[in-house]
């Protein structure tokens, strides 16, 4: 498959008390179209920073970030860890935010919003402000907002870490269904090894600060993946040993 995003020798440093802290070092990876890539690593490994660099949100870094020639900025979307919903807008207005930004005609926008509301089971919450939703529902809105613009690439920054385990499980399954149906590329970061194994085609394991890609593991476990299988446990052990040797 064609490479959609390539990063070469990405380095990122932060200023700290007059000195410099290296957050990321020597990051090299290429992401193929349609792939589900997960960066997994402990706190402080620079996962979120890397995601922001790759998505174009952070432009202060050294190294090279390259998008495929036909990939437009408007085809990139982002799902945030703490949802980042706009509290002054209703659920439907939040979902339609990216569409409004693209100056899409009202009728077309309404149709897309309706479709996303149905897809995510949010119909009865359309006119409700985000504050009246549970964490799981909020993240549903966050994902619906990211997908409403029909992106080719979706970046996800620990999207399920703020949710209880049952809701997170449910949303992971929904996400996989959507990924298959919409054939998008997903680049996600998580600190949960099981989550990475459940979702990813490839898992890039990051070391603690400065974050480096210690190993890229191709995840060949057949889908749908069974968490209690021996192969799953073996892969989990392998990744955990890389993170905590």
């Amino acid at each position: 498959m064609a490479e959609l995003i390539t990063v070469r020798n990405i380095q990122k440093t932060f200023a700290d008390n007059g000195g410099k802290i290296s957050a990321l070092a020597d990051i090299d990876i290429a992401v193929a179209e349609g792939e589900f890539l997960v960066f997994v690593g402990p706190s402080g490994s620079g996962k979120s920073t890397l995601l922001r660099i790759m998505s174009g949100l952070d432009q202060e870094y050294n190294g090279e970030l390259q998008y495929a020639e036909d990939l437009k900025r408007s085809e990139i979307s982002f799902v945030f860890q703490q949802f980042a919903l706009f509290p002054w807008l209703t659920v439907e207005e939040n979902i339609g935010f990216g569409l409004a930004a693209r100056n899409m005609p009202e009728k077309e926008r309404r149709e897309i919003i309706k479709k996303e509301l149905n897809e995510f089971g949010l119909e009865s919450f359309a006119r409700v402000p985000p504050r009246d939703l549970s964490g799981g529902m909020k993240q549903r809105v966050g994902i619906a907002r990211a997908l409403a613009t029909a992106p080719r690439v979706v970046f996800m920054d620990e999207p399920f870490s703020e949710l209880d385990s049952f809701t997170a499980d449910e949303l992971r399954k929904e996400l996989l269904t959507l990924w298959h149906a919409r054939k998008m590329t997903i680049i996600m970061v998580t600190h949960i090894v099981e989550e990475a194994i459940l979702l990813a085609d490839r898992i890039a394991v990051l070391t603690p600060r400065p974050g480096r890609i210690e190993k890229i593991i191709k995840n060949d476990l057949p889908r749908p993946r069974v968490e209690r299988s021996q192969d799953f446990y073996d892969l989990e052990d392998k990744i955990t040993k890389i993170i905590r040797p």
Binding site: R52, S55, L57, R73, S74, I76, S77, F78, F80, Q81, Q82, A84, L85, F86, P87, W88, L89, T90, E93, G96, F97, G98, A100, A101, R102, N103, P129, P130, R131, R145, T149
Partner: protein, 239 residues
């Protein structure tokens, strides 16, 4: 995107009680004008003139404060702008009054100019405070959406700045009423609340009743408009 709700009252009862509070000062002023043997028309004309000056000054202040706040709330400019605003707002404005009278005369413009330099600062600083509370993730969500220009202002900057605008308006208008009467007296305006208080300054009873009427008017206005707006705007920002 749909237009934002203007629903600032919790219930019909809330609206009715608020309206009742608003009627109160007008009744008071009518009774007061009879008691003090002042033509009600003259009294309401004085109140109307002052109210008009304050309203115009408030409109100018909001426009100026909002533009300055969104232009200077972040980036390198904020390091220069904020201390500069701080110095300007602490400047004793009444010290400039004689100069303003020379340039603008004993006119509405002088009063309005003074009201603007009084009302503007609390609004400016409150809006800046609101804008500084913008979460990084909100900005990133906006950036990734590609929203720019007037849409960015309408759908993002404006709603985020509203709570600060309302808080600042309450403080600014409070200071504005205070400055209004003093400025009208100093400038010697032929009509307005300053003129009224100046005229009856030798009569403590009428002055006291006049102050009570003015307080009732300000109180009712706060209850009719500002407090419901304040509650609504903060509620809208709850996550």
């Amino acid at each position: 995107m749909r237009k934002a709700h203007l629903k600032i009252y919790k219930s019909r009862k809330h609206a009715a009680v608020t309206l009742g509070i608003v009627v109160l000062p007008f009744l008071f002023l009518l009774v007061f004008s009879r008691y003090a043997n002042i033509a009600a028309g003259t009294l309401f004309m004085d109140i109307g003139s002052s109210f008009m000056r304050l309203t115009i000054a408030y409109g100018i202040s909001v426009a100026l404060a909002w533009v300055l706040a969104v232009s200077f709330y972040r980036g390198r400019r904020v390091k220069i702008a904020l201390p500069a605003f701080d110095v300007l707002q602490s400047f004793p404005t009444f010290a400039m009054l004689p100069l303003a009278v020379i340039f603008l005369g004993r006119s509405n413009s002088t009063v309005i100019f003074f009201l603007v330099v009084t009302v503007m600062w609390p609004i400016l600083f409150s809006i800046i405070s609101s804008l500084k509370l913008i979460k990084r993730e909100w900005e990133e969500a906006v950036e990734i959406s590609g929203m720019r220009g007037t849409r960015y202002v309408r759908h993002f900057l404006w709603p985020v700045s509203v709570p600060g605008l309302i808080t600042g308006s309450i403080i600014g208008l409070g200071e504005g009423w205070e400055a209004l009467v003093a400025t009208e007296i100093i400038v010697g305006m032929p009509e307005g609340l300053g003129h009224f208080f100046n005229q009856y300054s030798a009569n403590p009873e009428i002055t006291a009743l006049g102050i009570t009427g003015l307080l009732l008017l300000i109180f009712s206005f706060n209850h009719l408009l500002w407090l419901p707006l304040l509650n609504r705007s903060h509620e809208r920002m709850e996550e």
